[in-house]
């Protein structure tokens, strides 16, 4: 049977999660609403979909179905006076789906590259994803490295220090996470939300085509290369 845990809500607005347009505060209410495209990348079975399921629905399935193509979900977090809405693209991990990946990271303002702390190969694969993002994604993309399955510490083969050092060298956010226990799951998304530019002019090079188009389609004030309205 599936292990469905009770949702853990951490300053998230679930009722907004499935809505296309973030609600615009009505005058007296504070704050900006920012919308960001975030992509998850990493080897098959490292826990990409599980991290998303934990973050969006507060659930965990011991056996998460393998993702084919990609899955799309949204979740909103509040950060001081700003509401950050993530459009999350969760991708398939198997190498042969690689040719589809640029479609998902193109225009993404953030990426979480996931590996499994109990499997060295997945860490190596994560570093090649980071290289690809640095070369081909938007120049100001915020990249976070997630060492998932931290609950399996007794089977650990990738040392935390090693991953931290790699992340520091490459200017990545880094956390060890556990989709199973929820450890650091909301935190890594929040850390990304904090690091993303939320000023109108602090855009990311204007290559976030989808974000811009989206804002225009909503008929709301669009700012080139950024999401803030």
């Amino acid at each position: 049977m599936r292990n469905i845990r009770r949702p853990i809500r951490f300053r998230t607005k679930d009722n907004m999660a499935n809505r296309g347009t973030a609600q615009r505060p009505n005058g007296q209410t504070q704050g900006k609403i920012c919308q960001f495209k975030l992509v998850l990348l990493g080897e098959s079975a490292v826990g990409k979909s599980s991290l998303v399921l934990r973050f969006v629905k507060g659930q965990f399935h011991e056996y998460q179905e393998s993702t084919i193509g990609a899955a799309f979900l949204t979740q909103t977090v509040c950060l001081d006076d700003t509401t950050v809405k993530f459009e999350i693209w969760d991708t398939a991990g198997q190498e042969r789906y690689h040719s589809l990946a640029p479609m998902y990271y193109r225009g993404a303002q953030a990426a979480i590259v996931v590996y499994d702390i109990t499997n060295q190969d997945t860490f190596v694969r994560a570093t090649t994803w980071v290289k690809e993002l640095q070369r081909q994604a938007s120049p100001n993309i915020v990249i976070a490295l997630a060492g998932n399955k931290a609950d399996l510490a007794n089977k650990r083969v990738v040392e935390c220090d090693e991953a931290q050092a790699y992340a520091d060298e490459n200017g990545l956010l880094f956390m060890e996470t556990s989709a199973k226990t929820a450890m650091n799951v909301n935190d890594i998304f929040l850390a990304i939300a904090k690091k993303l530019p939320k000023n109108e002019q602090a855009g990311n090079g204007g290559s976030s085509g989808q974000g811009r188009r989206l804002a225009e389609a909503e008929g709301q004030k669009a700012t080139a290369g950024n999401c803030c309205k």
């Binding site: 998460q64 393998s66 799309f72 042969r96 789906y97 225009g107």
Partner: protein
Amino acid sequence: MTKLSPSPLISRRLAMLSNVDEYGFERPSNFDYETYEEFMSEYLKVLAKRAKKWSNIIGEGKSLQRSITIKRYVRKGIPGEHRGMVWLSVSGGEDLKNASPDLYQRLLNGPHNREVADIIKTDLPRTFPDNIFFNNTENHQHQLYNVLLAFAHQNKTVGYCQGLNYIAGLLLLVTKNEETAFWLLKMLIEKILPEYYTPTMDGLLTDIDVLAELVRMKMPDVYQHVTNLGLPWAVITTKWFVCLFAEVLPIETTLRIWDCLFYEGSKIIFRVGLTLIKRNKENLLSCRDFTLLAECFKEITKDSIVVQCHDFMQSIFKVPGSLPGNTIAKLRSRIAEDRARQKQVKSIR
């Protein structure tokens, strides 16, 4: 009702009320039993009628030849208990199997590539975890392992591609026989579908573009709208092609599609895709942004249109309009050439 039909129909009736469907899939907590029962009470009559018709043409010693009658019968649905046999027969798999009767066993005997075996093993518990045959019994997972391992060693170009686990899993649920499931998988991948599962997935990427082109030709407003909102067609349709609608559409609808797929070939996938889009055209056009559109494309694979599998299957032959085989063949070769040219340009750069 003939003597042949009651037992499967009774099992369907029981499954109507259960929280697990007749194929072993757990129903979600928000499953709409009322609407489903309404549909099923009508569909059971159809099934009873079809079962009787099929029992007249399937019998001991009778072989099933491809003919206009059988094609019509297949479009109206193959009874569950005959599916595996009919699929094998109309796709030509039976002849291949008879020509190499010990192939499957030889493949199982090995030797086996450890890396391939490990990748398959990772996906076993991740295949239909909400199905009682796959999550509770080692047996089905072991059969799935055998089918995928045998296939990967028989076709080393394809090997194992994620997505095949769902197809082989469904084949096992239908046929309840791993050797039949193996031959049907082989027929799908090597005879019926273009190169969807090879390492470069060229056939898949081509067919995604072919569907987009067909949408452009038949529903230019939808095509323009999706393009304007910046949603790539691959994002929407990759899983449709890779899983052949398994894990996308309701199970009974998927199997009805597979009935036609085994008889008529991969063109059916375009018919289904175009029908889904056309029947939901207004909803899709009313989506004002990228997020809503992506959600809407998810919704259209779950609504009552697709649950009513019998009506849906009739509509796929009407709604998209004419779809000649040579139009698809021409589009495929034109798009494949374009893709090859683009690849070449990229590699020169």
